[in-house]
C-alpha cells in the first residue's frame, strides 16, 4: 500500500525548546490516522512542518512521495488544511473568503461550497466577524473540504462545533474514507479521534510514544473478568495462561476474579471447558489507556 505521509527522523527545535523530536511516522493512503497528545506535545509543530510553514531542524518527510520542502506546492494542491487556531479575514463574508481561497487554488468550488455550507447549516452571507465561534469553524471546515483533497490535515477540527455538527463532521470523514482518501487528524480530545480513526499515534513531549490500531490499544488494556462457576475450580489452571493474574477466589472456589492483559480468548476457552454460569467483564475505558500515556505523574511508565 502506498504512503500518504512518511516522516523519517523529522525534528524541530525552537532554540532549546523541543517542538518534535525524531519522528518516524507512516500514514497509508486511505486511512484515517489520529494523532493525539496533550497540549504542547508537538502536534501542531508536526503539521506546520508537513505544510512547509516551518523548516525542519533535522530529518525529512514526504507526502504522496513528494518532498515537503522541495515539492510543497504540488503537495498543497492535493491537501486540505484546517488549523487548530483558525484565522480568517474578519471583514470578509464567508462566501467571499471561500471564493478568495478557491481562486488561490485556481479551481471553481462554488458547487461544493454551497453543498457543504447547506450540510453544516452555515449562512455564507454574513461577515466573519459576526459569526459565532462554531460558525467560524464551519467556514474552516468548508475551506478544507471544498476542493475534495486527497489528504486532509485537520488540527482539532471539531472545536466549537455542537454535537449535531460533530456527528455531521464524523459522517463527512467516513465518506472521505469511503472514497479512499486519507485523513490526518490531530487532537487532544480522544472521543473526536475514537469515533473515526483507524490507527492512532500518541505523541508526548515532542516524541511519538506508540502507534497502533484502536483495537490494538484496547487489547493492551488490563481488563477484569469475574467468572461464576457451578462448582469449585483450580485457579492455577487460569494463572498459567499468559497475561493473566488471579485476583482472588471467593464463594468456596466458585467465583474467580482475574486481571487480563490483552485478549480474553484463552481465558474464555478455558472457562467454557468448566461449568460456567456467568462471565462479567469490566473492560477498562480507552480513556484510561490514553491518560496513562499522557500524564507522567499518574503513570510514570506508560504501558505497551
Amino acid at each position: 500500500m502506498s504512503r500518504a505521509i512518511e516522516t523519517s527522523g523529522l525534528t524541530k527545535y525552537y532554540g532549546d525548546t523541543e517542538g518534535i523530536v525524531d519522528l518516524h511516522l507512516a500514514v497509508d493512503v486511505g486511512e484515517v490516522f489520529g494523532f493525539i497528545g496533550p497540549n504542547g506535545a508537538g502536534k501542531t509543530t508536526t503539521i506546520r512542518l508537513l505544510l512547509n510553514f516551518l523548516k525542519p531542524t533535522a530529518g525529512s518527510a514526504s507526502i504522496f512521495g513528494l518532498d515537503i520542502d522541495q515539492d510543497s506546492l504540488a503537495i498543497r494542491s492535493r491537501v486540505g488544511y484546517l488549523p487548530g487556531d483558525l484565522a480568517l479575514y474578519p471583514s470578509m463574508t464567508g462566501r467571499e473568503f471561500l471564493l478568495y481561497f478557491s481562486r488561490l487554488r485556481g479551481i471553481d468550488t462554488a458547487a461544493s461550497t454551497v453543498t457543504l455550507a447547506e450540510r453544516f447549516d452555515l449562512d455564507l452571507d454574513r461577515r466573519i466577524k459576526e459569526y459565532s465561534k462554531g460558525n467560524r469553524q464551519k467556514v474552516g471546515v468548508v475551506n478544507a473540504f471544498m476542493h475534495e483533497p486527497e489528504l486532509l490535515i485537520l488540527d482539532e477540527p471539531t472545536g466549537g462545533l455542537d454535537p449535531l455538527m460533530q456527528q455531521e463532521f464524523a459522517e463527512l470523514l467516513a465518506e472521505v474514507r469511503a472514497d479512499g482518501r486519507t485523513v490526518f487528524l490531530s487532537s487532544h480530545y480522544l472521543p473526536e479521534v475514537e469515533r473515526v480513526a483507524d490507527r492512532v499515534g500518541i505523541v508526548r513531549q515532542g516524541r511519538l510514544i506508540d502507534v497502533d490500531t484502536l483495537s490494538g490499544f484496547r487489547s493492551k488494556v488490563q481488563s477484569n473478568l469475574s467468572i461464576k462457576f457451578g462448582s469449585a475450580v483450580d485457579p492455577a489452571e487460569f494463572a498459567s495462561i499468559e497475561g493473566v493474574t488471579v485476583i482472588d477466589l471467593l464463594d468456596g472456589g466458585t467465583l474467580l476474579r482475574l486481571s487480563i492483559g490483552g485478549s480474553q480468548k484463552a481465558v474464555i476457552a478455558t472457562a467454557s471447558a468448566r461449568d460456567v454460569l456467568t462471565i462479567t467483564s469490566e473492560e477498562a475505558d480507552l480513556d484510561e489507556v490514553f491518560l496513562s500515556y499522557y500524564g507522567s505523574e499518574l503513570h510514570p511508565d506508560p504501558p505497551g
Binding site: Y13, Y14, G15, D16, T17, G19, T44, T45, R48, L51, N52, F53, L54, K55, L73, A74, R76, S77, V79, G80, Y81, P83, D85, L86, A87, L88, Y89, S91, Y100, F101, R103, L104, R105, G106, K129, N143
Partner: protein
C-alpha cells in the same frame, strides 16, 4: 488581477482615501500659502538678497524659495508628503505581511498551492500600488492647483516629484519587510523602519548645518530623493538610485521570507532569539508581578516602547534645534529683517502672529518641535494609545475578559484613560528634559517655567484629541470608526486654525479650533502657561467624562 494583490488593494482602500484626502488638503493649503507670500514684493526682494544657507535650518533653500517649486519642495516634498506616505507604507507593509503572519493568516494562505514568493510579492505589490495611488493623488492635486493659483509648475516636474516620492516610499516599505522578516514581529518592523526613516530625514535635513554629517548624508535615501530636485529638474540619478535600492532591498526581503519559519502567535519564539529565553522568563515574571495590579499599569506598560520611540524622536529633534541656535544667532539681525518681510499670514498659519519671535530661540525651537511636528506626533501618539487600549481591545474581545472580573466598566475605562494620559506625560517629560538640557547647554535662557508650560500645552492638546476618540468610541460603539473620525476632526481644526489666520471671514471660527487654543498667536515656548490651555484641559475632562459615563450604557461588542 491576481487575487492576493487585489485583496491587499481592497483592504487599503479606506487608508488610501483618508491619506489621499489629507494630501489634497495639504496641497491646497500650501498652494494658498504660497500665493499670499508671492504677492508681497517686499518679501521677494528681501529673499533675493539673503545670504544663502542661512535658512536651511527651516528647510528653506533661499535661492529657490520664492518660486512655487522651491516653496513646495521645502514644505510639501521634504516635510509633509514623506511623513504621510511613509507612515502609510510602513504601517501597510507591517500589517499585510507581519501582522497577518502573527495572526496565522499567512498559514491559511499558504495552505493553498501558492508559493511563498507569490504571496509575499503580491502583498508587497498591493502596498506599492496603493502608495502609487497616493503619489498619483498628490500629483493630480498639484496639477489641478497649479493653474488655479498660477504656480507655474512644470507638468513633467510634478510627475517626476510624484515618482520620486513613490520610489522613496518603496525603499522604506522594503526596509519594513526586511526588519519584519528578520524579527518576525510587526511592531519591530514598523519601529525599525520608522526610526530609520526619521534618522535618514534628520541627517539629510541638518547636513548643511553640520559639515561633519555631509558624507553620511549622501547615504540617506532622502538625499537621493531630492538630487536632482525632481520638481524643477525632473528625474535623474537620485531617483534611479532609489529604484535600484528598493529593488535590491525587496529581493533580500523576499529571500528572507522564503526561508523563515512562519511564526503564529501560538508558536514558540523563533530560534534566533531563543538564547535569551531564561533571562526573558525571569523578566516576564517580574513584569507579571507588576502588571497584575490593574488596567492602569498594563496600559502604561503596553505603551512603553512607543513612549521611548516617540519621546526620543521629539527630544532628539528639540536638541538639534537648540544646537542650531548659536549658528543662527550670528545672523540674527538679517534673519529678523527677513522675517519682518514675510507676509504675516504665513506665520499665522503656523500659529505665529508675531513672526519676529522666530528669530528668538523660543521661536526657533517652537517652529519645529512644538508647532510643526510635535502636535502631529503627540496627537497621533495619544489617539493610537486610546485605539490600542480601548477600541481594539473591545473588538478583540479582550475587554470582555477584563470586564468579567468584578470591576465596573467605569473603573476599567478610567484606568485605561489614566494609563494613556500617564504615558503621554512620559513622552512630554522626555521632550521637556531634552529642552531643559538644550536650554542649559546652548545658553538660550528660556527658563524652566516656559519650557514646562509649553510641554503642558502640547500634552493637553494630545489629551484633548485622545478624549475625543474615547468619547466617540463610547457613544458610537465599537463598529463606529472613532479613530478615523478623530483624524478628520484633527485635520479640519488644524486647517481651520491656519486658514482662519488668512481670511477675515474665517477668523471668528478660528477660536473654536483646539489648535488655536494651543498655538495662540505666539510660539508656545515664548509665552508661558496660557489661559487657553485650560480650555484644552476642560475639553479633555468633559469628553473623558462623556466617554466614561456613556460606556456603562452601551453593549460591549467583539
Amino acid at each position: 488581477m491576481p487575487a492576493i494583490l487585489g485583496k491587499t488593494l481592497l483592504d487599503r482602500r479606506r487608508a488610501v482615501m483618508g491619506y489621499g484626502l489629507g494630501i489634497v488638503a495639504l496641497s491646497v493649503w500650501l498652494g494658498a500659502m504660497f500665493t499670499v507670500m508671492r504677492d508681497s514684493d517686499e518679501f521677494i526682494d528681501f529673499m533675493n538678497n539673503l545670504p544663502s544657507g542661512l535658512l536651511s535650518a527651516f528647510g528653506i533653500d533661499s535661492g529657490t524659495f520664492v518660486t512655487a517649486a522651491g516653496f513646495l519642495s521645502s514644505y510639501l516634498f521634504t516635510l509633509f508628503a514623506p511623513l504621510f506616505i511613509l507612515f502609510f507604507v510602513i504601517s501597510a507593509a507591517a500589517a499585510e505581511v507581519m501582522a497577518e503572519e502573527r495572526d496565522g493568516l499567512i498559514d491559511m494562505l499558504l495552505s493553498n498551492p501558492v508559493s511563498r514568493t507569490r504571496v509575499f510579492l503580491e502583498k508587497t505589490g498591493g502596498v506599492a500600488l496603493a502608495a502609487l495611488l497616493l503619489a498619483a493623488v498628490l500629483t493630480a492635486a498639484l496639477l489641478v492647483v497649479n493653474p488655479i493659483f498660477d504656480l507655474s509648475l512644470s507638468v513633467t516636474g510634478v510627475l517626476a516629484a510624484g515618482l520620486s516620492l513613490w520610489l522613496l516610499s518603496l525603499v522604506f516599505a522594503s526596509l519594513t519587510l526586511i526588519a519584519g522578516t528578520f524579527t518576525g514581529r510587526s511592531v519591530m518592523a514598523g519601529g525599525v523602519a520608522g526610526s530609520l526613516a526619521l534618522l535618514a530625514w534628520f541627517i539629510n535635513s541638518f547636513a548643511s548645518l553640520y559639515p561633519a554629517l555631509q558624507p553620511v548624508a549622501n547615504a540617506s535615501p532622502f538625499a537621493w530623493y531630492q538630487d536632482p530636485n525632481p520638481l524643477t529638474d525632473g528625474a535623474g540619478a537620485g531617483q534611479l538610485w532609489l529604484a535600484v535600492t528598493a529593488g535590491v532591498l525587496l529581493a533580500v526581503a523576499t529571500l528572507l521570507f522564503r526561508r523563515r519559519d512562519l511564526a503564529t502567535e501560538m508558536a514558540v519564539v523563533p530560534a534566533t532569539r531563543a538564547f535569551r529565553l531564561p533571562r526573558r522568563r525571569k523578566r516576564r515574571s517580574l513584569r507579571a508581578a507588576w502588571l497584575l495590579n490593574g488596567s492602569f499599569r498594563k496600559t502604561v506598560w503596553d505603551r512603553r516602547r512607543s513612549v521611548w520611540g516617540w519621546g526620543g524622536g521629539l527630544g532628539f529633534l528639540t536638541l538639534v534645534m537648540f544646537s542650531v541656535w548659536p549658528t543662527l544667532a550670528d545672523d540674527a539681525q538679517a534673519l529678523a529683517d527677513l522675517v519682518t518681510s514675510f507676509p504675516r499670514e504665513v506665520f499665522a498659519m503656523f500659529g505665529m502672529t508675531n513672526p519676529e519671535e522666530i528669530v528668538t530661540p523660543a521661536g526657533l525651537v517652537s517652529s519645529r518641535t512644538y508647532q510643526a511636528i510635535g502636535p502631529i506626533l503627540i496627537v497621533m501618539f495619544v489617539v493610537r494609545g486610546v485605539s490600542m487600549a480601548m477600541v481594539k481591545e473591545e473588538s478583540d474581545g479582550a475587554l470582555d475578559l477584563v470586564l468579567s472580573a468584578p470591576s465596573t466598566r467605569r473603573t476599567v475605562v478610567l484606568n485605561k484613560a489614566l494609563g494613556v494620559a500617564c504615558s503621554t506625560a512620559l513622552v512630554i517629560a522626555i521632550l521637556t528634559v531634552a529642552a531643559l538640557v538644550g536650554d542649559l547647554a546652548y545658553q538660550t535662557e528660556l527658563g524652566v517655567g516656559r519650557i514646562l508650560a509649553a510641554g503642558a500645552g502640547l500634552g493637553l492638546l494630545g489629551l484633548f484629541f485622545g478624549a475625543l476618540t474615547m468619547a466617540i468610541w463610547a457613544v458610537g460603539g465599537s463598529s463606529f470608526p472613532a479613530v478615523r473620525v478623530t483624524a478628520v476632526v484633527a485635520m479640519a481644526t488644524f486647517l481651520l486654525n491656519g486658514l482662519g489666520a488668512l481670511s477675515d471671514a474665517m477668523a471668528p471660527a478660528r477660536v473654536t479650533s483646539p489648535f488655536y487654543w494651543y498655538f495662540g498667536d505666539n510660539p508656545p515656548l515664548a509665552k508661558g502657561f496660557e489661559p487657553t490651555y485650560f480650555l484644552l484641559l476642560a475639553g479633555a475632562l468633559v469628553l473623558g467624562w462623556v466617554a466614561i459615563s456613556r460606556i456603562d450604557r452601551r453593549d460591549i461588542a467583539t
